[in-house]
Symmetry: C2
Subunit: 216 residues, 2 copies
DNA sequence: GTCTATACTCTGATAGAC
DNA sequence: GTCTATCAGAGTATAGAC
């Protein structure tokens, strides 16, 4: 925080507090108090409290702008991976993605605000649920055609895999996140719930189950 | 609403509005305005706005008080059911449970408030996630012992089944619930998203997949 | 039990001096 | 760009007449 300018410090503090208490339960006074400036000073950097949330979502937008599905990516992937390897990769990506303290906080804001905020709802539905399912079902479809995966509806298989990941997110990131994900902005190495032994074992168990079920 | 006394009308209206906008975004004025009384009149029936939420959660508590696990229920169940029939029963229960308009609204309140409210968080974690998983894994364990289910960790199997149910809840009850579940208090037959053809097909697909994967 | 009137607090936001 | 001072509005809640 020390090396940030005031605007950045306001934004980081807002992310921290919104992730902890939700947008509505954090006042401009709370934010500026934590930053160490007066309320009115915030308005030299942001035109309103709402703009803080907008900027946070803009950042998420930018993070996701690079995530489109190249039509031929599935074809490339199946040349070097079997279903189990692909799923391991997905979990690695998930861990890396939600291992970034800043992103995990922003996703928690999305989770909290999705019932009130249309943009948060869209992020959640599209980027956290529907897009991954679509991507995985395309890869699975290609693997079925190649004959290295059981012949079934690829969408069903994608849901069998990814609904478990969402379960982990819902149960251990959203619900228990006060325990894990909300860390001081100054401590870069946040404890990732996925790294805990119990969840590692849950994931391993599920992967073993799916490896068997997905085999031809 | 016509045949209710004022206290009941206030409570039903509060459930309706909290489910739509969340506790914080509904004012006492909103509630009393919808009921057709003055703000101050509410305090003849409830000592505070907070008490409204408490009463709603008390109702949920009562609904769940009858739901304990008899130690021998799993034994009884497996005498008459195979894994597929048991899972169908679970889904039926889920549909019936979330088909009641009042309960679906209250669960939406739980989903919204669980990030802020410790009691809501506990309801969600215990009654919606952990308890069903425990119950199912016990039944699956008995079925494995009986030899009518694949020999695997029953907890893994329960998660494979129930994380999909939670996915349906998360994706179609929570996220899209403005479309389906929030109905006028006067219309008793709320449209249940689970009854839609798409979701019926998702469930059927997943059940076919699991029937095969759970077979010895 | 319902009303009118009002108290008090907190909110986001602005004006203008420095 | 930060401060002091201030504002209007909305929030929950209470007192007391009817």
């Amino acid at each position: 925080m020390k090396d940030m300018n005031t605007r950045e410090r306001i934004l980081e503090t807002a992310i921290e507090l919104f992730a902890k208490h939700g947008f509505n339960d954090v006042s401009v006074r709370d934010i500026t108090g934590a930053v160490g400036i007066k309320e009115s000073s915030l308005y030299n950097h942001f035109k309103s409290k709402q703009q803080l949330l907008d900027e946070i979502f803009n950042y998420l937008d930018r993070e996701f702008s690079g995530m489109s599905i190249p039509e031929d990516e599935a074809a490339k992937l199946i040349e070097v991976m079997d279903p189990a390897q692909f799923m391991d990769m997905c979990i690695m990506n998930f861990k890396m993605y939600f291992g970034k303290p800043r992103l995990i906080k922003i996703w928690r804001i999305v989770s909290i605000e999705r019932f009130r905020n249309a943009r948060a709802n869209e992020f959640f539905t599209k980027n956290l649920v529907d897009y991954p399912l679509l991507y995985q079902s395309k890869v699975f479809e290609a693997m079925i055609k190649k004959g290295i995966m059981v012949n079934a509806d690829p969408k069903v298989l994608a849901r069998a895999f990814y609904s478990f990941i969402l379960f982990i997110y819902m149960r251990y990131f959203e619900v228990d996140s006060s325990e894990y994900s909300i860390t001081e902005a100054d401590s870069p190495e946040a404890v990732n719930p996925v790294d805990s032994p119990e969840i590692q074992e849950m994931i391993k168990g599920h992967m073993d189950f799916l490896r068997r079920a997905f085999t031809v």
